[in-house]
Amino acid sequence: MNAAAETTKGQSEDIRPLSAGQFIAAPTPGERARLRGARCRACGETFFPPRRYCAACTSGEMEDIELPSSGSVESFTIVHQQLPGSAMIPPYAIVNVRLGAGPVVQTVLREGHEMLELDDDVALVVETVLNEDSHSYVAFIARRLAGGSKEEGK
């Protein structure tokens, strides 16, 4: 899996989501991530990724919803050790992002992680994370929102 380390914008022929079913519409690199969540019609709990039965009340009456494409950083950690098989090159941040009243989603933040603080606002955007077998694999990652952080207010 040597290609895993190649995260540069390749000349790949087609774009595929790294994880099928995460997006409510075809993802375009550089644009806001339109994530597919699920809401339980019985109890109202929301989930990401979507699921067929509600984890809270076990109802099978679930509907697709589009999740907000920004949220606040509930917590984060800076990873310094390479995970075998990963396309992410340390150091990078793993962030738990709370999407308003909705679910907490986990992803990475690659640029500006050294300025990240708890409760920062971040956007979820589509980026190419892996080029392999002439395919570009895209996923949603977190990006700090300009003007939303304490440093930039100084």
């Binding site: 950690t77 990873v79 075998p84 396309a87 793993i94």
Partner: protein, 377 residues
């Protein structure tokens, strides 16, 4: 349900043993547990085996080292909680009268480096999310902000664990470290540093349990009894049910309440505790979840020395996962072993409360669930 006692327990030293096979490791632990119990292997009626990484039917290849008596050998897997799951099943089989004597074994041989918790091609791996210490680090950073704790308070867990490990001849690490050593070791997932991570380990642990009514033929004196237990798999808590930023101790708290109810005891009765400190912050989250200290006060309790061997809530007296080592399938039985030593006054230099320890609490977690055990003497 019948009263059940732990008659014996024993380990193969935890560490790195590239020249030893799983049967070599497991046989030595079983021999030590049988010797401690006074039970000959031919009297063992069933064996429950906790193991994770070994191939199909690994339990039999180890247990049959002691003889082929035709007993059922049951393989159980719940990641790092495998051998407390095996213990729980063995306990239920004796408590319900199906068997009188049971053997519990846990063993593992592991590779060096970050443990692979997801398939190499999986989304979680490619995205760099399947980093085990990160889950503790994420919780730790939020905890620091919410409760005013410092990174050094987490580091102190590891200092204490290594000091205890130096008193344990079965521990992987038997050398004390300073807080500077811990804080200056390289960062793995900030704020968790290398010395705040449990190592990968080879090792084995075994326990012999017996119906209390049959114990006298094998052993006399002070024995550890199984007083309470609980197992669960991570109940989903709806978003609105906990205040934002609240420390996530729900699952431990839910389960330990079940264990206390079965035991007729409570957190104020505990003399000695084993918790799942796969990474240093784990001890702090666990003692809060178990109700040994209020939520938000665990880090300060560690910093003040309350979880030391001579503290008022001694935790992981044998070095815990951080220093004893963490051969994932064997860890649960090693936890039981240390609590049994403490409750029978046989813990030597690690002994708490001058040997006057009568209630021991165990919390062992794995991907897939958590086990709580309460032992008494």
């Amino acid at each position: 349900m019948r009263d059940v006692v732990v008659l014996g327990a024993g380990l193969h030293r935890f560490g790195r043993f590239p020249d030893k096979s799983l049967p070599d490791l497991g046989r030595e632990a079983i021999e030590n547990a049988l010797d401690d119990s006074g039970v000959p292997f031919k009297d063992i009626e069933v064996a429950y085996v906790g193991r994770v990484l070994a191939g199909m039917g690994a339990g039999l290849s180890v247990v049959s080292e002691m003889g082929r008596t035709g007993i059922p050998v049951i393989n159980i897997e719940m990641a790092c909680g495998s051998s407390t799951s095996a213990f729980r099943e063995a306990y239920l089989s004796v408590a319900t009268g199906v068997y009188d004597t049971a053997l519990v074994v846990g063993f593992e041989k592991m590779q060096r480096g970050l443990i692979q918790i997801a398939d190499q091609k999986s989304y979680q791996t490619v995205m760099g999310l399947a980093v085990m210490p990160a889950s503790y680090a994420l919780q730790a950073r939020r905890y620091m902000a919410d409760h005013g704790a410092t990174a050094e308070m987490f580091g102190q867990v590891s200092v204490k664990s290594h000091r205890n490990g130096a008193l344990n001849p079965y521990a992987q690490y038997q050398t004390a470290v300073t807080l500077d050593d811990v804080m200056n070791s390289r960062s793995i997932a900030d704020p968790v540093t290398l010395l705040q991570c449990s190592p990968t380990t080879d090792g084995a642990a075994a326990v012999v349990i017996c119906a209390a009514s049959k114990a006298a033929q094998y052993k006399s004196g002070r024995l550890a009894h199984v007083a309470g237990w609980a197992t669960g798999s991570g109940k989903y808590e709806p978003t609105g049910d906990s205040a934002e930023g609240e420390a996530d101790t729900g699952e431990i708290g839910r389960l330990v309440a079940m264990a206390w109810e079965r035991a007729g005891l409570g957190p104020e009765d505990v003399d000695v505790t084993q918790v799942h400190d796969a990474f240093a912050p784990g001890e702090i989250f666990s003692i809060e979840g178990l109700g040994l200290v209020p939520v938000g006060e665990g880090a300060q309790a560690v910093w003040d020395g309350r979880t030391e061997i001579d503290g008022d809530i001694p935790v992981n007296t044998d070095g815990g996962l951080l220093s004893r080592g963490h051969p994932i399938g064997a860890t649960g039985c090693a936890m039981v072993t240390e609590i049994v030593r403490q409750l029978t006054g046989e813990a030597g230099p690690r002994q708490v409360k001058g040997g006057d320890a009568h209630v021991g609490l165990i919390q062992n977690a794995g991907i897939g669930g958590m086990n709580i055990l309460v032992l008494t003497s």
